[in-house]
Symmetry: C2
Subunit: 120 residues, 2 copies
C-alpha cells in the first residue's frame, strides 16, 4: 500500500453513498451482493451506483464477478487492513512493537485469507 493507493481508497470512502455501499458489502461478507441489490439497499439509481462502484474499484476496495445475469460485488478485505496499516505505519516510531502486532492481527483476520470461498 503506497500513498497513491491509499489516496484513492480514502477518496473512495469519502462519499456517503460509497461508504454505505462498502458497509453493506462488509456485512454481506465474501459472498458479496449483486449490483441491483446494492442499488436498492443504498437507494440510488443503478446508473449512479455504477459510477460509485467504479470509484470503489479504482480504490481497490471491491472486486466483481459475474454470476448469470448479475454482477456480484464484494469487499477486498486485505485492502481494508492495508489501509489500516498505511495509516498506522509511522505511528509509535520509537516503539513499533506496540502497533505492529495489532496491524498483523487485523491482516490475519478470518475474513482475509479465503477470497475464493462462496457460501450462498
Amino acid at each position: 500500500m503506497d500513498e497513491r493507493q491509499a489516496l484513492s481508497a480514502f477518496s473512495a470512502l469519502s462519499q456517503e453513498t460509497r461508504l454505505r455501499m462498502v458497509r453493506h458489502l462488509v456485512i454481506a461478507g465474501p459472498g458479496g451482493l449483486a449490483a441491483g441489490v446494492l442499488a436498492t439497499k443504498v437507494g440510488v439509481s443503478t446508473s449512479n451506483l455504477t459510477f460509485h462502484l467504479k470509484e470503489l474499484e479504482r480504490g481497490g476496495l471491491i472486486q466483481s464477478r459475474r454470476q448469470s445475469r448479475s454482477i456480484i460485488y464484494s469487499v477486498v478485505f486485505s485492502a481494508l487492513s492495508g489501509l489500516v496499516e498505511f495509516l498506522m505505519r509511522d505511528c509509535c516510531q520509537g516503539h513499533p512493537e506496540v502497533c505492529a502486532p495489532a496491524v498483523a492481527a487485523l491482516a490475519a483476520c478470518d475474513c482475509n485469507p479465503q477470497p475464493e470461498h462462496i457460501d450462498v
Copy 2:
C-alpha cells in the same frame, strides 16, 4: 465514531496535500508542528494550508494549540484508531473475537494515552 464522523474523516484524508500533512504530523508525534513549518514541508501556501487544516480539524483528525506566535498542530491519535474501529466494525460478524482484540490493541497504542508527552 458514527457514520457522519467517519465520513468527514475519510473526506479529510482523501486529498493528497492533507494526507501528507497527516503523515508529517503522525511522524512529528504529540509534539506536533507549527503551521508554517508544515506549509514548508508539504509545499503549499499558508493560505492554502489553513484551508486544509480546517478540513482536517472538521474531520476531528487534528487539534491545535497556540505557542507564542505560532499555532501548533498535532494528530488526534484516538481519531485514527476510531476510524480503524469503524472500518472493521462489522467485519468478522460470526467471529468478532478475531478482530476485536486487534482493534483494542490499536486503541491501547502508546501514542494514545499520553498526549502531554513531548520527546524531542
